[in-house]
Amino acid sequence: METRVEDYRKLVKRSLWVFHLNSGSCNGCDIEILNVFAPRNDVERLGIKLVGSPRHADAIALTGPVTRECLPKVVDAIKAVPEPKIVLAIGACACGGGIWYDTYSVVGGVKELYRIMKEEYGMEAPPTVFIPGCPPKPEAIIYGVAVAKGMIEPKQRRMVYVEEGGGDELARMLEEVNGLRHFSAGFKVRRDVNGT
């Protein structure tokens, strides 16, 4: 998916026009998106602008976990954005379903949305920038947009740790156990449970 975002960066050297698509968000993320356009952060200085129709947009700012009710509308809106397009998945809900990821009434984030789009609508997943947070700080959203536009290299990396060691660990542990022993279970279990 990363390469696709890079392709996109080559295509869109222009200002990014964004269509704000709320797919069942709690409004937290939406308020942060509005904050981004307020004087303190004022992203219009970077040429980013909210538009009223997906047909005018280059990017979709998707918030919310995509409820089942609005799934067809979300798909329609993504379909309506002309190529090349990019999706900014804003907030924990859009990135991974958030606290509703396994509830009955939501699809649960853009990954699931893309799977359904592929299986049921035959659409390819658009390049996506994930912006985690609940809600993300306005600066975090700006950072995400800067990543989408290729102004900044993302610094978040996958981290995998595998513990080394095996059998000798056990010996060391038993030694440690013996060192700690201060109580000896040298008792006998009484066998005359039926008597006395």
Binding site: G98, G133, P136, E139, V160, Y161, E163, V177, G186
Partner: protein, 169 residues
């Protein structure tokens, strides 16, 4: 308010727009940003997984390993994991620049080796957690310590039946 007065006010307040992303932005010290597990300390106890409201942290068992899997994309930065972690292994940093085009980058995995039960051979607990438990409850003796919970539950029955002295496990 007259126009002249308003202009005077605007000039006195000056520019409020931050230069971010061209200049760094200040974050308070107690800002709840990206949680990071210190893999050298984590014992795989799973306390964080049970406290995490969106189950962004999940603890699973994969063969010889217990895997603590933190998925940042779903994290709501509540800090409960930090509150409950008995080792202080998981901490919320002030990092908020997490946006990435690659979904795989949002994961952290800590794979910890597990001990096999001496009776049934099932891996049942991590070495680190067992050693840690011993510091807290040092009276569980010898081999019984290396029994999985099921076998440990059966062990007292075996003493009753076999009439052992309780040290045989």
């Amino acid at each position: 308010m007259g126009r002249i007065k308003l202009m005077g006010l605007a000039v006195s307040i000056g520019k409020v727009t931050e230069r971010y992303p061209f200049a760094p932005v200040e974050v308070p010290d107690d800002y709840r940003g990206k949680p990071v597990i210190d893999p050298g300390i984590c014992t795989g106890c799973g306390a964080c997984a049970s406290a995490c409201p969106p189950q962004a942290i999940q603890v699973k068992e994969e063969g010889e390993f217990r895997v603590v899997h933190l998925f940042l994309g779903r994290c709501i930065f509540c800090g409960r994991c930090q509150d409950v972690c008995p080792e202080g292994a998981i901490r919320l940093t002030t990092e908020f620049e997490l946006a990435t085009p690659n979904h795989d980058d949002l994961h952290q995995f800590v794979r910890l080796r597990m001990v096999r039960c001496v009776r049934c051979g099932r891996p049942f607990d991590t070495y680190r957690h067992l050693v840690r438990s011993l510091r807290e409850v040092p009276f569980i003796e010898g081999e019984r310590l290396l029994l999985c919970p099921e076998c440990r539950a059966k062990a007292p029955l075996d003493w009753l039946e076999g009439g052992g002295d309780g040290n045989e496990g």
